[in-house]
């Protein structure tokens, strides 16, 4: 592990400073390449697609560090390698979802089985790989209940028996997928849709009409997600989006109050407080700060998916 300063209070400028960003990027690439190579083996993924994945890991890591400007309360990253590996692994999961939906489904089934049946033991080895093996004790009590899960359990036990050693969960999944006839090897020779996936979906949305449409989607968000987003969101200069919405007349004060679930009097009292910090929002909602952050991320994700679907 490299001794990098990962103080989340770093300013944007500090994160951009060389050599810190370069060192981080280099380290992230090393870790990401290892994860991507290991998890994509047997998938015939073209080298440049792997490169795209690794590059995306770096982008996400640096983006996460830069977030400290707006969200100083973000939890610090204590183990950088582990964080990078997790990001890389989740990107591989997304890739698998995109190109091998059946493989992903089987993986979820296998994980569910392993986590709910005491005949199996799941562990993470020294290299960070998730492995499984038959449980050593026969006193296992928990059993899966459905016929489908029982059949899956038999298959996994058979595979583990044949191997005679612990297997990586991904390998078990691929073996099951092959047995079921699912396609697990495709030639990803094109510049995958990964880049498309992470395009900024709002590049063409900077117009009043687009913001109105966005606002109507925001009104459709579940209440807590809406509050987590609106009460905290601000422009680059720190101005609250609620104030900007009112100032541009894209939404009336009454409509904003209704979206927040408060009366106009309370809205009037709120103007000077905006934007609110996450801990303040958390106190209003009776949640933890992290839950507020998670709700806001979910809101933004939902907006991205909803608005991209409409375009």
């Amino acid at each position: 592990m490299i001794p990098v300063p990962l103080d989340m209070a770093n300013s944007r400028e500090r994160c951009d400073e060389l050599p810190t960003a370069d060192v981080l990027a280099e380290r992230a690439l090393l870790v990401a390449e290892d994860v991507v190579r290991r998890r994509c083996r047997g998938w015939n993924v073209a080298p440049h697609v792997r490169d795209d994945l690794c590059a995306e890991v770096v982008v996400r890591l640096l983006g996460r560090l830069r977030q400290s400007d707006g969200e100083a309360q973000l939890a610090p990253i204590h183990r950088i390698d582990s964080y990078i590996a997790t990001v890389a692994s989740r990107l591989v999961d997304d890739l698998a979802r995109a190109v091998f939906p059946e493989w992903t489904r089987i993986k979820h089934r296998v994980l569910y089985l392993l986590n709910h049946d005491d005949r199996f033991r799941v562990f993470v080895d020294d290299a960070g790989r998730t492995r499984c093996e038959p449980a050593s004790t026969m006193a296992a009590r928990r059993r899966v209940r459905t016929r489908a899960t029982q059949a899956l359990a038999d298959s996994v036990l058979e595979l583990l028996g044949e191997a005679g050693r612990a297997l990586e969960v991904d390998d078990v999944v691929s073996a099951i997928a092959r047995r079921s006839g699912a396609v697990v090897t495709v030639n990803l020779s094109e510049p995958m849709e990964l880049a498309r996936t992470f395009d900024d979906p709002f590049a063409a949305m900077q117009s009043a009409e687009a913001v109105r449409r966005l606002w109507s989607e925001i009104e459709e968000l579940p209440q807590r997600q809406r509050l987590a987003l609106l009460l905290n969101a601000r422009d680059e200069g720190g101005e609250s989006v609620l104030r900007l919405l009112a100032a541009t007349k894209l939404a009336s004060a009454g409509r904003l109050a209704a979206a927040l679930g408060i009366g106009e009097d309370e809205m009037n009292a709120l103007w000077d407080e905006l934007p609110l910090a996450d801990d303040v929002i958390a106190a209003r909602l009776g949640l933890t700060r992290q839950q507020v952050i998670n709700l806001r991320k979910a809101a933004r994700d939902r907006l991205a998916r909803r608005t991209s679907r409409r375009r």
């Binding site: 989740r90 489904r105 849709e193 998670n294 933004r300 998916r305």
Partner: protein, 319 residues
């Protein structure tokens, strides 16, 4: 107490709006992790996690399908997705009819002492299979509910801002329908010299055609079952490239019948090969509108006295 002042200067207002768009911009996050899905399945998720996952499922059919699959695996099959909702309807009908039969049997037994001296028929009626029960239900009510999946596949077009824009998803087949084949043939209105077809699952392209000279393409590799796909055609002409369907037209979407429904349909065809009524009702329940109308009309043509079937066909055709 300072309510924000209205920005009157048009250029400043534009700047503010652009800043707003950036500040409120959606940002794709990772899909919920397996751990989150498992918590929802096991009902151990806290209410925030539960809300985040369920909110995501509303906009991500793939994750919705994954959760449904896990639910089934875990034995929580009652949470099946809407696409398979007709199965639940069928089950409810079967249960209702069987319960009715059980009740009538009991009533018959109870009434037996009063039937002394009468001839009692003990011959059991053939057990009606589930398909016949679906038909009975449809004929009794005179209609078949439009499956919810069709509403999801037939999104309204955006408001037409450019009256000159003519591209429409109606010029593309299949669109707004449920299909059975995992390698459907896609057809579109001839409009250029070369075409490239792309198929998307959500935002991700899952298949594309390469450059074509004909206005049709049979999808390859096979699509996954139980998924909703969008598709578009890049129309290449000398000097220009257009996309069909172009805004403000609604996206061209189709849903590939899930595995369970497909095998049930295959079973129904084996058992009721020539029964156009049963097949018609089954197709309708699955959202396969055109096939349903064809079968029902075939049946109606063969049985002119069955006016209710002709009406049923018309009602499905009006979806």
């Amino acid at each position: 107490m300072s309510k924000p002042e209205i920005i009157d200067d048009p250029s400043k207002r534009d700047e503010a709006i652009a800043a707003l768009a950036r500040a409120l911009a959606g940002e794709l996050d990772e899909h919920p992790s397996y751990a989150m899905l498992e918590q929802v399945v096991d009902r151990t998720a806290d209410d925030v996690t539960d809300e985040i996952v369920r909110s995501h499922l509303e906009v991500c059919p793939q994750c919705a399908e994954e959760l449904r699959d896990l639910m089934e695996l875990a034995g929580h099959a009652h949470t099946r997705a809407a696409t398979a909702g007709w199965l639940a309807i069928a089950a409810a009908i079967i249960i209702a009819v069987l319960a009715g039969g059980w009740w009538m049997t009991r009533a018959g037994r109870a009434a037996a002492p009063h039937s002394i001296g009468k001839a009692v028929t003990t011959t059991l009626a053939p057990t009606p299979d589930e398909f016949s029960l679906l038909v009975e239900s449809a004929l009794r009510t005179g209609r078949i509910e439009k499956p919810g999946i069709l509403r999801e596949l037939r999104l309204p077009a955006d408001v037409l801002r450019d009256p000159g824009a003519t591209s429409s998803s109606s010029a593309m087949t299949p669109s707004g329908v449920v299909i059975e084949s995992v390698t459907p043939m896609l057809l579109w209105k001839a409009a250029g010299e070369r075409y490239v077809v792309s198929i998307f699952d959500g935002r991700r392209r899952v298949a594309h055609s390469g450059v074509l000279s004909a206005n049709q393409w049979t999808v390859s590799p096979p699509l996954a079952r139980g998924r909703t796909y969008g598709w578009q055609v890049e129309v290449r002409r000398s000097g220009s490239v257009d996309i069909m369907p172009a805004p403000p037209a609604a996206p061209a979407l189709f849903h590939v019948l899930d595995e369970g429904s497909a095998s049930l349909l295959a079973g129904a065809r084996r058992r009721h090969r020539d029964d156009h009524l049963i097949l018609g009702v089954l197709y309708a329940r699955m959202g396969m509108q055109d096939a349903a109308v064809d079968e029902l009309r075939t049946y109606a043509a063969q049985h002119p006295q069955a006016r209710n079937v002709a009406a049923l066909a018309d009602s499905v055709a009006r979806w």
